[in-house]
Symmetry: C2
Subunit: 284 residues, 2 copies
């Protein structure tokens, strides 16, 4: 089983910054890449914010929370980011062409030993594997938002992922305090979204059918199951633009839900938690 | 809005005993009916067990937990149970003919002012309303297992329920510490099961498609959403006999899940939490 010590994270957006920060917080050397100086500047701000959150929210984080930022090298030079990496975790925008181009480039630049992982949500890793030039050393490693709290890492190989590579990534996930979620085969949406999507769909139907309002539905779910968030709160966190996009590609009921989201919320500038107004008003 | 002081609970099984006990614990006079002396004896044991659980699990329950049992009159005489009741909550077995016969009888015995509520899970209240002889004073009031913890009460009227009756039952639910969940119209499964069923269905598919095992799926759900239980733990609590029954009436994927439940679990005597063996082994 490979042992990793130097980790490259490609793309330092919302989740990429969490992956980079958390991995450094757990003691690894991290190089984080984003496309240009502006993006790198935003990445730096994200990492500082994460250090503050860890200080406040993660028991025993203490002084280590600031120290972690110091173990992350930020760069807009992708070759530099991957040239000595043992593991590359790609967290680039969710577009097939972007991810394929990126893997194609780093496939040339990284040492042959380097393992490649994609954090993709929607693109099956089998649609990316040939672009890496090393399908046997490639798989999906999928984190959930607020990695320090929802500490699961879904590990999903393709038919061509080598078993020892899969095992090494499972071990890496465990080493940074994640509960490794081992998928036996490729599945769109992994486990978490395979469970969440039907729940969110059912919640949308309760609203479009005028059975109950969002606050009522969320009360039921939180109190009835103990979950942190009800389905409409989850949609507010995801953002209603994304929720609308997904629903508009669904069945007739879902498209009705998409229209409702657009008319009652998006057209009024209510896009969810980010604007403070979605199905609910924030902070709650 | 009606004010209730005397409550009759018809059927003192798992949920009926919780409804009766909790209502008495909150200060109401309760008469609890079950069919014969044996059933009444079992009901008494259930109430004593609940008093112990409240002492241990409900903050500040203290001596009041035992006192509540004293405010519950147990009887196998249904006329006696309802003759002075302001509100009758039916929690009889989930069979249409049983419930209709019961409502038909108590419709004759109870004062005209008495409001009738059914705790039915699967039978729409509109299928019961005419049997009560007072459809305007009848609705569904649906509790969740472990009422002191999952303190939601779904209130669902029919097209014929009088608005003031609906409001009085909402107020009653709030007065016993429930969060009243107001459904605007009749919906099979209410809100909670409308959300839970698609989740449990998706979990079943992850298992039948051999994507991940039950422990993995449950880890994802608990950690990823903060819920108390993963979907397979929920099925173990419901009981695999019931889970099998429901799945065997579903689509092709669900029927495949039903076969899996039968072959891997039921045929080996693993029926869930009650036998200590289901998808998981208990106590966990």
């Amino acid at each position: 089983m490979a042992e990793f010590s130097r980790i490259a994270v490609l793309g330092v957006g919302v989740l990429g910054s969490q992956i980079a920060y958390h991995t450094a917080f757990k003691g690894y050397d991290v190089v984080a890449y984003d496309v240009d100086d502006d993006a790198v500047g935003r990445a730096r701000a994200r990492l500082e914010t994460l250090a503050e959150r860890y200080e406040q929210e993660v028991a025993g984080a203490g002084i280590g929370a600031r120290g972690a930022v110091g173990r992350i090298e930020l760069t807009s030079d992708v070759a530099r980011a991957v040239s000595e990496a043992d593991l590359v975790i790609e967290a680039a925008p969710e577009q097939l062409s972007v991810k394929r181009r990126l893997f194609s480039a780093v496939g040339e630049m990284a040492p042959p030993r380097t393992v490649f992982a994609t954090n993709t949500s929607a693109i099956p890793p089998s649609a990316l594997m040939d672009s890496t030039g090393r399908p046997d050393r490639f798989l999906a490693l999928h984190f959930s938002n607020l990695v320090w709290r929802h500490n699961i890492a879904e590990v999903m190989g393709t038919a061509r992922t080598a078993p020892e590579v899969y095992a090494s990534v499972v071990a890496f996930a465990a080493s940074i305090g994640m509960v490794p979620i081992e998928l036996k085969k490729e599945k769109p949406g992994y486990v978490l979204n395979s469970l969440l999507m039907p729940l969110l769909k059912a919640a949308g139907e309760l609203l479009t059918d005028d059975i109950a309002d969002p606050a009522t539905v969320d009360d039921v779910w939180r109190i009835g199951t103990g979950a942190d968030y009800g389905p409409f709160e989850m949609l507010d966190i995801v953002g209603l633009t994304t929720a609308h996009h997904i629903a508009s590609h669904g069945d007739a009921k879902q498209r009705e839900f998409a229209r409702l989201i657009k008319e009652r919320y998006l057209d009024k500038g209510r896009t969810g938690v980010e604007t403070g107004e979605g199905f609910h008003t924030y902070p709650r």
